[in-house]
Structure formats: C-alpha cells, structure tokens
Symmetry: C3
Subunit: 161 residues, 3 copies
C-alpha cells in the first residue's frame, strides 16, 4: 500500500472505493516585498490530480511572515488588503521584535509582516465535491507575501475518497 492512501475492493460487487490522504508541497518564488498571489488554479490542479471525489482540501503557508486567505480575485482589492494591513501594522511602529536576534545573527525587522500573517490568516479549508473544490464564484485562494521577495513553500493537503 502506498503511504497515506488506502482502499479496498469488494469482489462480489462492481464498486471500488479508495480513501486518499495526500500532501503536496508547492514552491513559490515571490517577487515583491508585499504581494497577493492567486494560487487557485494550482490548488484546483492538485485536487484534480489527487483523484479525490469527495472530501476536503486544506491549504496553508509554512512561513510566519506570509499568509493564506480567500477573498475576491481583483487587483484593486489585492492592493486594498496590502495597503490597509500596512495601515493597521505600519513598518515603523515601535515593535519589541525590532532588536538584535542572537539566533538569527541579525536585527528583527519584520514584526509587521508577522502581525499581518496572524491577522489575515495562514490557512483555508474548503470542501471537494465531484472532484472539484466547492467555493463561491468570486472566492479566490491567495498566497500572501508580507516579507519578500523570498522562495516560499505552501502545503496542499487533500483528504477524502
């Protein structure tokens, strides 16, 4: 049996059912300090390739200065999210994190990015039905870069049958 994938077949019947638990790590090179990157097509593709008919998909960033969120996919709104998160957490606030970090060998400088990550969120969970993610027609899945440009990794986990 492959890891994380199981199933069975009844010999006296013509149906076969396979439970699938699948995890994909997706790499992403961000290009700007702050950026909202539409990853919906990528998530759709991984769901489709997984063969899962019904279940759920969980998408999450593996970084603490980036995020994952679901909202309407239009450029003006992408700008509004980044602008207004920066209005709530300005780069030049008096953060405790703005000090020398021994373990990093450098000055902490991105408290605002961590706070945006927490407030905007780091993951989403959506249902899968008939092999497709169920979401509203305007719901777009975004990887949010708050501290780039960096090579980032996010996870897509699919669980279902």
């Amino acid at each position: 049996m492959p890891n994380g994938c199981w199933g069975w077949q009844l010999t006296n019947d013509d149906w076969q059912l396979t439970m699938i638990i699948k995890l994909e790590r997706i790499k992403l090179q961000t290009r700007k300090t702050e950026e909202a990157i539409d990853i919906t097509a990528q998530v759709d593709e991984v769901v489709q390739k997984s063969g899962v008919k019904n279940g759920l998909v969980n998408v999450l960033t593996t970084h603490t200065s980036s995020g994952l969120l679901v909202t309407e996919g239009i450029p003006c709104l992408e700008e509004d999210i980044l602008t207004h998160l920066s209005r709530l957490f300005p780069e030049d606030e008096n953060y405790h994190h703005r000090r020398y970090l021994d373990y990093d060998g450098r000055l902490g400088f991105n408290a605002d990015a961590h706070l945006k990550s927490i407030i905007g969120g780091v993951s989403c969970t959506l249902p899968i039905e008939n092999g497709k993610i169920v979401r509203g027609s305007r719901q777009t899945i975004y990887f949010m870069e708050y501290d780039g440009p960096l090579e980032r990794t996010y996870l897509i986990q699919i669980l279902g049958e």
Copy 2:
C-alpha cells in the same frame, strides 16, 4: 453506493461502520447592511441528521463580503464586532476598490466589507463527538453579513464515521 458516502459490513461480525462525507448548502436571506446571524442551531441540526458519530464539521461562507466566525452569543457583543470592524475599516476610506468595475458594470463600493471578511474570517472547523459538535458552552457560530441585505449561501461539510 450514494455519492460521498461509503461503508461496509463484515458478515462474520455484528458491527457495521459507515464513513460519511456530506456537504449541505444552506441559503440565508440577510436583512441589514451589517448583521451577525447565529446559525448554531442550523449547524447542529445538519450534524445530527448526517448520522456522523465522530468526525469534524467545517462551516464556511461562499461570499467574499460576508464571514463566518465563532464567539460568544450575546447581542451587545454582536454590535461590538460590527462597530469595531467598521472602526478599523471605515466605509469612506480611500480604497482602490472604489472605482468603476468593467466586469460588474458598476462602481466598486464594498472594499470595507471584503476587508472585514478577511480579518474576521470565512470559516470554522469544529470536532464532532458522540453525534454532537464539541464546543465551549459560550461558543456560538455566526454568519456575518458585511454587505447586505442579500440572499447568501453558506456550506456545512461533515466528515467522519
């Protein structure tokens, strides 16, 4: 086999186990521009009817100007949530989204609603045990309308046995 529902029975034993993956779309007519609507009883009912004994339930809005969140179910707090999200994201801020949208044939006007949706969140995931949602005694599930009144749809997905 019904879609999204599977199980088996061992003939040499007296137990039967059924894995259930169920998805319900619930329609909701909101009545105000902004409104916190307690949907806990509705979610409880769908969980109970699903027959799932142990598993999880994921509830999420399908819209990008509404939300889904869990907090204490008292009217004064409902008002505080709406008031203070509006304090963080006033309707008359200088949003990029406040411009003519070709694809909509109208002026973008609800950037504040999208931002509230992102910040307050769009889904919740709760455990099911012995056929009931496990939650704290004061935890109430809310559908949050930030841009009504509208007919809205939210999803209840249940996965378990």
Copy 3:
C-alpha cells in the same frame, strides 16, 4: 469497536490499516491577564500518541476570550502580538458589552478580549505525515490568553490513518 476508531485487516495480505478519529481535551492554567503560551510540544505529543501516520490535526480553544494561532515562537513577537492587538482594541474603548449582564450577574468588561479572539483566530488545522505534524521550522502553535488568569480547555482533534 472502540468509539471513533475503526479499521480492518485483509487476511490474504500482510497489511493492516486503521482509521483513527481522536479528540483530546487539554486543560491549561493561565497565569496572566494576557499571555501567549507555546503549546506545540503538547500538540506534537498527542499526535504521536494517537498513532496516526497520515491525516490532519485541528487545534481549537473552547473559550470566546482566548485564541489559537500559529506564528514564530519568539518572546519579543509574543509581546508584539499582545501589544498591538491591544492597540487595535483598547480595554477602555466604548464597547456595548460594557454593561450589566443579567445572565452573568456582573458587568461585561471583556469586549476587547472577545475582539482579539475573533481577529487573531480560535483554531488551526495542520497536516500529519509519517506520524509528525507538517509545519514550517518557525511555526509555533500558541494558546492565546486575552482575559486571564483562568483555567482553560483547548481541543486537539486528530483524523487520519
């Protein structure tokens, strides 16, 4: 069959597969009014003891004036989260919740704690692979106390095989 746990064994093969749905309630005594408590080791331990090889874990608080979030595990950032959530939702704002509550027999006084809980979030969902939680090297799971000191309970639910 134990509740919430099922599996089967094919006699004509050498593999055995067990689906596990497990729910743990963890008690936690907080010590301060506001506090970020690293619970990563505790969640790791529950996952390890569950025997689940592949699946997911959902962690959530059962209280509406506390939270659950994932971010970098460093003391200066813990302070920044608490300080800047308090900047967004000061204790002495003019909250509707600041009034006598019949059912509580006391004055509502913690609207700010509820708002921080909503905005910072109350749960996280992470994948499990090869018996371990999959997360970024800097991702730490925090129980957030916004209204302590109190005895608190949070839930760890594991679903997988």
